[in-house]
C-alpha cells in the first residue's frame, strides 16, 4: 500500500491502491466500500460546493446528489483519472449547472466560523492597525468576502476556491476543469485581481 499524499491545505489524499480496490468493489454494488469513499471525500466535496454557492442547504443537496450520481455512473468510470478527480468533476459540473439555473435566486446561508478563526495568524495580521477598517469584525468580513466571491464568474470563483481555499495544485485544477494549466493560472490571476478591487476597503 502506498503512503497517503499530503496536500497544501494539510489534508491527505488517500493511497491510490486502496482507493482502486474500493472503487472496484463499489462498482460491483458494494455499498460499504462506497460508504468508505464517501467518508473520505465528503468534506472536500461539500466544502467546494459550499464555497461556490455560499449556501449550506444548497451545498448539502448538491453534495449528496453528486455522490449519488457518481455511484450510478461508476460503471462508466474508466480509471483514466483518479476517482477523486472524476468525483470532483461531477460535483463541479453539477454545481455550475445549478448556479446557472438559479442565477437570479442566489441567497447566502453562511456557516458559522469555527473557534480557530480568531487565532488564525493570516487573519490576525489582516485585521491589524494597518487595515483601513479596523473595527470590522470577522462575521462582517465573512459576509463581504462571500458577496465578493459571488460576483465572480463561476470558472473564476471555482479556481479561487480550489486553489486558495481548498489548496489544490494548478495541475489538479486543470484536470478537474478540463483545461490547461495556463488557463488555470490566468483565471486565478484575474479572479484575485477582481477580488482585490471588490474588497479594497478590507485589504491593504
Amino acid at each position: 500500500m502506498s503512503a497517503p499524499v499530503t496536500r497544501t491545505d494539510g489534508s491527505e489524499t488517500p493511497a491510490p491502491v486502496e482507493e482502486e480496490a474500493l472503487v472496484r468493489k463499489a462498482r460491483h454494488g458494494d455499498l460499504e466500500a462506497y460508504d468508505e469513499l464517501v467518508r473520505r471525500y465528503q468534506e472536500r466535496i461539500y466544502g467546494t460546493i459550499y464555497h461556490m454557492t455560499a449556501n449550506h442547504e444548497d451545498a448539502n443537496d448538491l453534495a449528496q446528489e453528486s455522490f449519488i450520481k457518481a455511484f450510478q455512473a461508476l460503471k462508466s468510470f474508466k480509471g483514466g483519472s483518479s476517482f477523486y478527480t472524476w468525483l470532483y468533476r461531477i460535483a463541479v459540473n453539477k454545481t455550475i449547472n445549478f448556479l446557472k439555473q438559479r442565477k437570479n435566486r442566489i441567497q447566502m446561508s453562511l456557516n458559522d466560523l469555527d473557534f480557530n478563526a480568531e487565532h488564525d495568524p493570516d487573519l490576525v495580521a489582516l485585521i491589524s492597525e494597518k487595515t483601513p477598517h479596523r473595527d470590522v469584525n470577522l462575521s462582517e468580513l465573512q459576509e463581504k468576502l462571500n458577496e465578493a466571491l459571488l460576483k465572480l464568474s463561476e470558472p473564476h470563483r471555482l479556481v479561487v476556491v480550489l486553489h486558495d481555499v481548498q489548496g489544490m495544485a494548478h495541475d489538479e485544477i486543470a484536470k478537474v476543469m478540463d483545461c490547461n494549466i495556463g488557463t488555470v493560472r490566468s483565471r486565478l490571476f484575474y479572479a484575485r485581481q477582481q477580488l482585490q478591487a471588490l474588497l479594497s476597503d478590507y485589504v491593504k
Binding site: 464555497h51 443537496d61 449528496q64 466560523l113 468576502l145 481555499v165 482585490q196
Partner: protein
C-alpha cells in the same frame, strides 16, 4: 509569478477566512449514511426541492413555473386572467340560478300574446320541421311540464303527424 503572488498576499490572507466556515457540528457524522440510504432507496433527492421534483416529472410545467419566476409580470398576468375567469364564472352561475328560480310571470294574456299563440301562428311554427323548442331563453329554462298535467290550454292542440 512570484511578484503576482506577493501582490495578492492580502487577498489570499482574507480567503483563509473561508477555511474557517464550518457546517453545523456533527453534520458529517450522518452525511455518508444519508447518501447510502438514498442510493438504497433508489429514489430522487430526499431533500430535493418541490420545483426540482416537478421539473423532473413534468418538464413543461417546470418551464412555465420557471418563466413565472424569472418574469413576475407573466405570473401576475396569469393570476389576473384567472381572477377574471373566476369572477365571470361566479356571476354567470348566480345569474343562471336566479333565472331558474324565478317563476314564470302569470299575467293576463294580452291580445298580442294571444295573437302570437293563435292556431295559425302555432301551425306556422309547427310547419318548420326540426324546430321543437322555443327560442325564448326563459321558456327554455323552465322545467318541462308533465304532459299529463291539466293545464289550461291557450291554444288548440295541433296534430303531430306533420313531424313524422
Amino acid at each position: 509569478m512570484i511578484e503576482n503572488e506577493n501582490n495578492f498576499e492580502s487577498v489570499r490572507r482574507l480567503l483563509a477566512l473561508k477555511r474557517h466556515e464550518v457546517p453545523p457540528p456533527g453534520y458529517f457524522n450522518h452525511f455518508s449514511r444519508n447518501v447510502i440510504q438514498r442510493i438504497r432507496a433508489g429514489q430522487p433527492a430526499q431533500s430535493e426541492s418541490f420545483f426540482d421534483a416537478l421539473n423532473a416529472q413534468t418538464p413543461w410545467l417546470g418551464k412555465v413555473l420557471n418563466l413565472f419566476n424569472a418574469k413576475p409580470v407573466f405570473a401576475s398576468s396569469f393570476a389576473g386572467a384567472l381572477c377574471v375567469l373566476l369572477f365571470l364564472a361566479v356571476v354567470n352561475g348566480e345569474r343562471a340560478d336566479l333565472i331558474a328560480q324565478t317563476p314564470l310571470p302569470v299575467s293576463a294574456p294580452t291580445s298580442a300574446s294571444l295573437a302570437a299563440l293563435s292556431p295559425t301562428a302555432l301551425a306556422s311554427s309547427a310547419n318548420q320541421p326540426g324546430i321543437v323548442s322555443s327560442t325564448n331563453p326563459v321558456l327554455s329554462l323552465q322545467p318541462f311540464a308533465s304532459p299529463f298535467a291539466q293545464q289550461p290550454a291557450l291554444a288548440q292542440p295541433v296534430s303531430l303527424t306533420s313531424y313524422r
